[in-house]
């Protein structure tokens, strides 16, 4: 009992000490948090004031997506009263033009929204990109816990400074193959659980595919995926396999919808067209709506959607900074997923703080929670993918341009 009392007294004293300590820590910490908050708020107010004083952001929008981004940009314009002037068109042409301007000492643009590969291989290589991390001051953006796997995702996997990713393309199938439902029943489609199936002789002359060339956005023939590789690609590209190669996205989608071939692979931007055809009631569907791969699904970070790069020597650096803070915020990503025009297809954000799905297609995978099945955003895999794309392109040309 005594012991119990002593114990009880000791526990009481201990609790008292702990409580006091906790209060002290809380009071001290709270004071510091408030100061940080105030500093942060002041910084933010200053940024908004500076940005409004600049009054404009000049933006390059590649992949011909200007019109699709207009509603999103309009929200930013309405909120801050800052005008966004943009030019849109082919990413290659816009990159050529901007890099040539910069070499001649003309710096007209603040931000480029375009293919992350072009941003990395051309703009970063030309030292034309600002480091993004120091530009982000909104706690709603800087807090890593709000992003998939508790970290930021960078396309420049070596440096992790310049191309902060907002989205990832998540697919249960590499290349997201489609099929014609009149030529291949859903039950038959359900039995297929690997791309290896499509290199079997019974699929000869039944597949249409985009060649591994950059124009139509057709990708890397899946060979940088750990389950496939060059061996699979060589079998698939073998002329004896009689794959119908079509570069034009429209003709590629039509070939499947019209039943010219039963399966379409390596679609690039043609998958967007196929979704339109499915909506119109044509007999096309995605394998991943019915079946999952037996092995590894894929999360391709950076693929499929343009990403942002902040340009050095920008004429409106503060307005550009404000825009980046906004677009990476929950509000910005919500606006993107909700208002992106029909010409583009929004990939899911890498934020994990409950951004509404909006127009993002439900793939039945836990994308928003940041589950990653196979992450290509590592320096090794990024290099491997680049090397593979070169190999695939050259090999395809050797085989089909003899």
């Amino acid at each position: 009992m005594q012991l119990k009392k002593v114990r009880s007294t000791s526990v009481g004293v201990a609790w008292g000490l702990v409580t006091m300590l906790a209060l002290l820590v809380a009071a001290y910490g709270g004071k510091e948090a408030t100061a940080a908050d105030i500093a942060s708020e002041q910084k933010w107010k200053q940024l908004v004031a500076d940005a409004k004083a600049e009054g404009q952001v000049n933006m390059i929008i590649g992949n011909r997506l200007g019109k699709d981004w207009e509603p999103i940009l309009a929200v930013f314009e309405g909120k801050y009263g800052i005008k966004i002037r943009y030019i849109t068109g082919s990413s290659t042409k816009l990159s050529d033009r901007t890099l040539a301007e910069r070499r001649a000492g003309s710096y007209e643009w603040d931000i480029m929204l375009g293919s992350p590969r072009r941003l990395r291989d051309r703009f970063q290589a030309a030292n034309a990109l600002r480091e993004v991390e120091p530009l982000l001051i909104d706690p709603n953006v800087t807090d890593n816990s709000l992003w998939a796997k508790g970290r930021k995702w960078w396309y420049d996997t070596d440096t992790k400074k310049y191309i902060l990713m907002q989205t990832a393309k998540i697919s249960l199938w590499p290349q997201s193959p489609w099929f014609n439902t009149e030529l291949l029943s859903v039950d038959e489609a359900k039995r297929i659980d690997s791309l290896w199936e499509f290199v079997k002789p019974e699929w000869r002359g039944k597949i249409v595919a985009g060649p591994p060339l950059p124009a139509a956005g057709a990708g890397d023939m899946s060979a940088s995926h750990p389950d496939y590789g060059k061996e699979w690609a060589m079998k698939f590209m073998d002329p004896k396999h009689e794959v119908l190669w079509i570069e034009n996205v429209r003709l590629l989608a039509d070939s499947l919808a019209r039943g010219k071939r039963a399966v379409a692979i390596n679609l690039g931007k043609a998958s967007r067209d196929l979704r339109k055809l499915r909506k119109l009631g044509l007999p096309v569907d995605e394998f991943q709506n019915h079946t999952t791969l037996a092995k590894t699904a894929m999360m391709s970070v950076g693929g499929g959607q343009p990403q942002f790069g902040a340009l050095t020597k920008a004429p409106h650096p503060r307005a550009a900074q404000l825009f980046l803070n906004w677009i990476f915020s929950k509000e910005g990503q919500t606006t993107r997923q909700t208002l992106l025009g029909d010409g583009a297809e929004p990939n899911p954000t890498l934020r994990v703080d409950g951004v509404p799905r909006g127009k993002v297609v439900d793939l039945g995978v836990p994308d928003a929670k940041g589950e990653v099945y196979w992450d290509r955003a590592t320096p090794e895999l990024a290099k491997q993918a680049d090397g593979f794309m070169k190999w695939a392109r050259q090999t395809w040309k050797q085989l089909y341009r003899r």
């Binding site: 992949n63 011909r64 200007g66 019109k67 207009e70 002037r85 030019i87 849109t88 068109g89 082919s90 290659t92 042409k93 990159s95 050529d96 033009r97 890099l99 040539a100 001649a104 003309s106 007209e108 293919s115 590969r117 072009r118 291989d121 051309r122 290589a125 030309a126 060649p211 060339l213 950059p214 124009a215 139509a216 956005g217 190669w245 079509i246 570069e247 034009n248 996205v249 429209r250 003709l251 989608a253 039509d254 070939s255 019209r258 039943g259 010219k260 690039g268 931007k269 043609a270 067209d273 339109k276 119109l280 009631g281 044509l282 010409g343 050259q394 040309k397 050797q398 341009r401 003899r402």
Partner: protein, 586 residues
């Protein structure tokens, strides 16, 4: 005039006058060579110099010089096959279109065929239609599985199977697309004015000597037309390695590719390999080196004057054949114009072009999308400004250059000829880059960069190879004595120009006006790198809509229809005006 008297006069005041004229001519020619040469050749030189820049990206980092591009470019897979394919398509298109175009031009210009003016205008309409849009339209008809015409034919008892009978994705399909595109119409609109300039008395003389209509055409008319015929051939040859979009669209599905496909592959690489692409494109300069001496030799070996002081216009009577010929040309005109125009309009209202089995089949949404595009109105305005400026200034500039080349003896004419032909040798996908470098990196020009003035300069001068040579062809046909008579009668150079040259040149000037209006309204590759947010044009919008990675064919069709309507009005007006004031046959 006796030789002695001539020497005496030359020894006197006229020698001084001639000498002064020579000096003035030298000065004018020097000015032309410096200004035009710089504008036309400097971009080519920049491209060629950069072909030795072996840096990974010519826009990034310091230049590295070497021969790697020249070594690597000619090792591109499929080089030999691509050249053979190029010649195959070119040869087939030329062998069909060329005789056909000569026959049609002769018929329209030199015979009493009904509605000849309307037929000629229809060939202009055909020329104005953007090739890529008409090809897309023909895919909708001749795709082997689901093409509307193939489906219709297969529903007939004597056709069966699931494919054909036609297949647009084949070599005949590509040839067809070229012929129907502007393979025939371009030649007809270039040759018709030349045939119209024929002096009927020459043909009458042949007939008086007992020659039949056919023999007269073969032995008199066509040899006299050698100058424009050679020109059309040369222009076709110059563009042999530039034809690209049709082959890209129709050839890839059956593994067919041409030389320009290889250039395109290099240009779209990441980063683009412009150096190697320039190396491949430079092969066209060899063709230029061949064209110029041949053309000069052909023009110098005999006289092609068909419009002299005693010019007698006149038309050949075809008798009962005129209705048969009229019927045949009308069928061709329908294929060239009405069919593709109808397809363009139809597909612009379809939910999905070529799909009649979906609901709703028709929609206004594509029109709504295009007309509400934030760039549309400014693009429309820019296009009109560019096209009208080109239509007014280009004919004046090109006819002046042609006059200098044909009517003067100023030194430097060969160099000027070389510059004009050489500038046409660079394919569009590279010339745009050359112009970008010119406008960005040249003091004076850089002030224009990003403005509509830069685009105006480009569109006014861009058709120079065709324009100057067409005007040259007309000057060659017009006799010297008419100008001399005017001068003897006391007319000064300007009065002679406006009272003699303008009426004689009117059909050609109007042809050049319409050609350059059309070029300017449809131009893409030469201005795409120069057009800023505020200086977009309709043609660039159409290109973005129809690009292989976008595939918005319905929207592209709408822009094509709008450009066609824009172009058609001035073309018809020009035609009517030309008939009123130019040379007329009755």
């Amino acid at each position: 005039m006796a030789p002695t008297a001539r020497v005496d006069r030359l020894a006197g005041g006229e020698w001084l006058a001639n000498n002064a004229r020579v000096h003035r001519g030298t000065f004018v020619m020097a000015a032309i060579l410096v200004v035009l040469g710089f504008y036309l050749i400097w971009p080519v030189i920049l491209l060629l110099v950069n072909s030795f820049n072996i840096a990974r990206d010519v826009f990034v980092g310091p230049a590295e010089w070497g021969l790697d591009n020249w070594r690597v470019a000619f090792r591109e897979p499929g080089l030999i096959k691509s050249i053979l394919n190029t010649f195959l398509i070119w040869g087939l298109v030329l062998s069909i279109s060329f005789p056909l175009a000569i026959l049609i031009s002769w018929t329209i210009a030199r015979t009493r065929i009904p509605f000849s003016n309307a037929l000629e205008v229809m060939f202009w309409v055909s020329f104005m239609l953007p090739g890529i849009s008409t090809t897309i339209g023909w895919i909708g008809l001749l795709e082997p599985n689901w093409g509307a015409l193939n489906l219709g034919l297969r529903s007939l008892p004597f056709f069966g199977g699931n494919e054909g009978p036609f297949n647009i994705f084949s070599i005949p399909g590509i040839v067809w697309a070229h012929l129907i595109g502007n393979g025939i119409s371009f030649k007809v609109i270039l040759l018709t004015p030349a045939f119209r300039n024929m002096d009927a008395s020459l043909e009458e003389a042949a007939k008086v000597s007992g020659a039949s209509e056919l023999k007269t055409m073969v032995r008199v008319t066509i040899p006299l037309m050698a100058s424009p015929i050679i020109l059309v051939l040369a222009l076709q040859l110059l563009r042999i390695f530039q034809s690209f979009e049709t082959e890209q669209l129709l050839g890839t599905p059956f593994g067919f590719f041409v030389y320009s496909t290889l250039i395109f592959d290099l240009v779209r690489d990441i980063p683009p390999r412009y150096g190697a692409a320039t190396v491949l494109a430079s092969i066209t300069l060899i063709i230029v080196a061949f064209i110029i001496p041949v053309q000069r030799w052909m023009l110098q070996r005999r006289l092609y004057t068909t419009i002299a002081a005693g010019f007698k216009p006149g038309l050949v009577n075809l008798g009962q054949w005129k209705w048969i010929v009229f019927g045949l040309i009308t069928v061709l005109v329908v294929l060239l114009t009405l069919a593709p125009v109808a397809q363009l309009i139809l597909q612009s209202f379809m939910t999905r072009a070529g799909y009649f089995d979906i609901h709703p089949t028709f929609t206004l949404s594509h029109w709504s999308k295009v007309l509400t595009d934030s760039f549309f109105l400014s693009a429309l305005g820019n296009t009109i400004i560019l096209a009208i400026t080109a239509a007014i200034l280009s004919p004046l500039l090109f006819s002046f250059l042609a006059y200098v080349l044909v009517r003067t003896r100023w030194r430097g004419r060969v160099l000027l000829d070389l510059i004009i032909w050489g500038s046409g040798a660079v394919p569009g996908m590279l010339s745009g880059l050359g112009l970008l470098w010119l406008f960005i990196g040249t003091p004076g020009f850089n002030a224009l960069y990003g403005t509509l003035f830069a685009l105006l300069i480009v569109v006014v001068i861009q058709g120079n190879t065709t324009g100057v040579n067409v005007a040259k062809g007309t000057f060659v046909q017009i006799g010297q004595e008419m100008e001399e008579a005017a001068r003897v009668a006391g007319a000064g150079w300007f009065r002679t120009y406006f009272r003699i040259w303008i009426p004689l040149l009117m059909p050609t000037l109007l042809l050049l006006a319409v050609l350059n209006f059309t070029f300017a309204a449809n131009t893409t590759s030469s201005i795409i790198l120069l057009a800023d947010a505020g200086t977009q044009t309709l043609s660039i919008m159409a290109l973005e809509y129809a690009s292989p990675g976008t595939g918005l064919w319905e929207e592209a069709s709408i822009i094509s229809v709008i450009i066609m309507v824009l172009t058609l009005g001035p073309a018809v007006a020009a035609r009517v005006f030309g008939l009123k004031f130019g040379l007329r046959h009755s």
